[in-house]
Point group: C2
Chain length 406, copies 2
């Protein structure tokens, strides 16, 4: 069993870096606080006897030697970056839970045949830089390093420059090496496990996602002097797209979801008809065909809205992956671990994207979920119970040991 | 007659301060470039033999002595501040046109019984600080100085502090002195005069306005894991309010207009359901009762939208004035001036708010409009023909001379 108190202490300690007054965390990827979080994590890993390597994407791997250290590692990990108004657990639990596994194996003097590595993946959230999980994506060969480096934040700063700025552009090549298995512990970020009273979730799939950026162009003019019929109001078009996106998600409920998270009208002045609007939209569904149908409906709807409003537009898909089935053997390893401890559990589909979704392309992969209070995540009030963290990390340890071989 | 070439040169010179690549102007109230514009204006006024006084709101008055300088002045003016993506003429034409009147009276050695003052009013646009025309409002006794000082911009800086920062918080008390008459030259900012081929517009009324700020609160949560029916999406509510505002304006067309110019969702992250949204809305109509009906419809609509979306909200009216009838004698003075020069003209209602709308409360007031290309304003492409500027300033001069008495 892992040491639940130590895990909780580490979670609270990390939560102070970028901590917000409401008890959440603002530790956006590649900011100064991300750097601080990474340094703390590194020091902990080294104190636990690991060698820490940083690859060219800033992904960090803390290596615990195996009895046969030439064998490919079992990697356990997640991410330390957060949303702008994020919580203390999303991602962090997976990284520090994996670190706790290593610490506990040290305490228990357990050696494994395969090495074990604790991973912290760069820019998982996708908030500062889209796409999400871009660095595990490069590791898995889904994106090129140059594509990832060229991603821009809202201030026009590239991911590559920011990685260099905080001193975490390492020299280890990204990926291209065998991985024996990958396990990720994460909070559910949805309401199911808590509502149904389960201790842990056995994640069998990740749902598919499609993310878009839309730029609408109308004509900026005076709010007081431009007759209604002469207007080309980019914000009115954007508002209709918000409604469209919502309608598409609703029509595919309960499984489908859809969201507009970002909307910036220009010049954003009270008495100016907005001449331009930038917005994002995203759709998710566990069934690939339904997700494709959402895409078709969306593109058709945007076309109609723009036409009716006299607007031109540019619509780009910036992120896409098909629904991901996790490796049946790894899923079974997680289930056996939960049963070993007598934890109540159910199978569940991951609503969020996770680094595991990309790792699944190159190695047998699965995930463990813990409940979270009221299903709330991407919110400063995100919360879990210490016991849930312990259960999850125990399951993670046993699943990992099965693959890493004692 | 005024010197059209000199007026045009001054307009172009002032347009360089805060000039944008597209040929527009970004000279927001109380910024460093506003300070620069004010200093240039002051130097020009002094070169024209005027004494420049600055009041506690930063309103600038360039005084040209009258034969009986104890008589109340005829004030001619407008504003030098612009929208974030504004043009070179909105406001500026009225200030520099008035200065050109003084320069021409000097050239022609014309003395007037009443003094003439050229005014530059602080923060007319209402873009950086709402309400618009706040400083002519204080002058006219509509707002208190403390109310005006406490206005906040988007960065939380107060109007009072910024006024002090740029060194334009003068020591002359605001208003409270007799004004013989007020005339304001302005571009129409709408399409009517140009479309119908008139040289100048005789402004008989200013339409009424109601401006609002709305803050919607829902619940921030994960875009991938929060089922559609559980959401409290503040941006979805805001989008519906954009549609509502547009519908209300359309139902009162052709005279009514309505606009949402500003919309900021929070945290504005691609994969977070927005938990909060801040937006503005404004309605305008030349008939007070219709404007009131728009207010009622709006409040009812917001209530329904919030309720349906599970949102709470805070709705504040931040700016209101009734339709303004200008002084019949001043309107006639403007008409006579236009006829004197043989300019084609029509009566027109001001779609925008102007400092004249507040000055009308304390002194006989009216306005002269010039056409603007394609009716475009609050846009960097805002444009007028040099002849239009000349016509307008000539009319301004003759109307002013009638009141100031030669
Ligand atoms: N786990 C998580 O919140 N990932 C961010 C990417 C997503 O929105 O699915
Ligand atoms: N003239 C002008 O654009 N004034 C700003 C206030 C308004 O929007 O009416």
């Amino acid at each position: 069993r892992i040491n639940g108190a130590r895990l909780w202490d580490s979670l609270m300690e990390m939560g102070k870096i970028g901590g917000t007054p409401k008890g959440g965390c603002k530790r956006l990827a590649l900011t100064d606080v991300d750097k601080q979080g990474r340094e703390l994590f590194k020091s902990w890993c080294e104190a636990a006897g690991c060698t820490v390597k940083v690859d060219e994407m800033g992904n960090m791997f803390a290596h615990r030697a195996g009895e046969d250290d030439s064998l490919p590692p079992v990697i356990l990990g997640s991410h330390l970056d957060t949303q702008p108004t994020g919580g203390k657990f999303d991602g962090v639990l997976g990284v520090l839970g994996a670190l706790e596994v290593v610490r506990s194996l040290n305490d228990l003097r357990i050696k494994t045949r395969h090495p074990i590595e604790v991973a912290n993946w760069t820019n998982e959230e996708g908030s500062r830089y889209a796409p999400a999980m871009v660095s595990s994506g490069v590791f898995a060969g889904v994106y090129t390093k140059d594509f990832a480096y060229s991603r821009l934040d809202q201030d026009g700063k590239t991911l590559g420059d920011e990685l260099e700025r905080i001193g975490f552009k390492g020299d280890v090549p990204v990926g291209g090496r065998p991985v024996h298995a990958y396990f990720e512990l994460h909070i559910e970020q949805g309401p199911i496990l808590e509502a149904e009273g389960y201790d842990v979730g056995i994640v069998t799939h990740g749902q598919g996602q499609r993310w878009y950026e839309i730029r609408l162009t109308g004509y900026e003019s005076h709010a007081g002097c431009t007759p209604m019929p002469r207007r080309k109001d980019a914000l009115l078009g954007a508002a209709r797209i918000v409604e469209l996106v919502n309608r598409i998600g609703l029509s595919k409920a309960p499984l489908g979801v859809s969201t507009v998270g970002m909307l910036n009208p220009y010049p954003n002045s009270r008495n100016v008809i907005p001449g331009e609007a930038f917005m994002t939209a995203e759709f998710r569904h566990p069934i690939g065909e339904t997700l494709d149908a959402m895409d078709v409906e969306f593109r058709k709807g945007v076309e109609e809205i723009a036409k009716a409003g006299g607007l031109t537009y540019d619509l780009k898909e910036v992120f896409y992956y098909e629904p991901v089935p996790f490796d049946p053997a790894c899923v079974e390893a997680v289930r056996r671990a939960a049963e070993h401890f007598g934890y109540s559990h159910r199978d569940i589909v991951a609503g969020a994207g996770h680094d595991a979704c990309y790792m699944a392309r190159i190695t047998p992969t699965s995930m463990v979920f813990t409940p979270c209070v009221d299903g709330v995540s991407h919110n400063e009030l995100e919360d879990i119970k210490p016991d849930w963290a312990t259960y999850g990390a125990n399951v993670l340890m046993h699943a990992a040991l099965e693959k890493a071989e004692i």
